[in-house]
Amino acid sequence: MDVSSLLIKLTTTLTPSYDKIEKDIKVYEQKNFGVGRDELARSYADRICWKFASLGAITTLPGVLPGIGTAAMIATEGCTLSGNLAMMIRWMGSMVAGISLMYKRDVYKKFNKDFIQVLGLWSGILVIGEESIGQTGDKVVINQEQAVPPKIFNRINQKVGSSMIKRRGGVAIGTLAPFGVGAIVGGSFNLVTMKSFKQNALKYYSFDGREIYYIKE
């Protein structure tokens, strides 16, 4: 399976549960009544980061291994991806869907495009806004139906791959060391990865979705 097929498989198979996220957001908005949209989106995304960090810590605890979600399981089996990778992509997708819903974007129609573009920003291949000034790279317009340039997919793949190598390294350390150490390792890797993704997701939604992206040279 080539990189493009793999990522398309990931973004479609791992499509978040919009209904569940929407319900969760409603409860979160009620709890934080009066908080502005930008701050609410930031804190909601941050909440996902810390929960994902805790998940990373929990999965290193013996005897406490929460089952991974059904969709993530399907992707893992279908693409022979590691459970960790599937979980990471799935939680990243859920974050994008959550922020999208908060900004009243059409998540049902635009999720795949939005997700790929946020992954592109996170991996550093795409730039937007002030960062695009002076860029000589190709302009990119990603539609739902259009194929995404292989260059973008390749860079995303590299970024995802390097994150997972680090994560695997962490797990390996945690496996050899007493499990308390593993909890710090697993939690911190998840946290650092997701925090960096969050910054890019928030940046993406701070624009109105009609911007032109540039492939960074």
């Binding site: 929960k51 089952g67 799935r90 150490v181 946290l191």
Partner: protein, 127 residues
Amino acid sequence: MKGLNLDYIKILFAIAWADSELQKEEQDLLSEVILSLEFNEEEIRVAERWKTKPVIFEDIKSIDYQQFSHEQKMHILLLSGSVVKADGVVTDEEITFVDRLKKLLGLESIDIEDIVSDIEDSIDIFG
């Protein structure tokens, strides 16, 4: 990044030092976490010192815990519970450490099992 500041790193060191020794894996990881955050040279110097100078509970008492979100507090508590159980024996001192940390975090009524259950609920939504 909000919440990922020196106070948080200091608490991580205190947790890692809770069993009175900082293992090499912990040192390596904490170094990586420090480097991945956008600290200035002075902050890095301060944090690096905690690798050799134990951070004890008294050192983290004066931290403003209100700056942390509920999820971050839960994460800190989860890590502390995990670390003190690391060698399979939980001493009275370690129980006291976790109980005192719970108080600082304002999570007296929360146990690790509650946190695991909360994360399982989140897996149902996000994962």
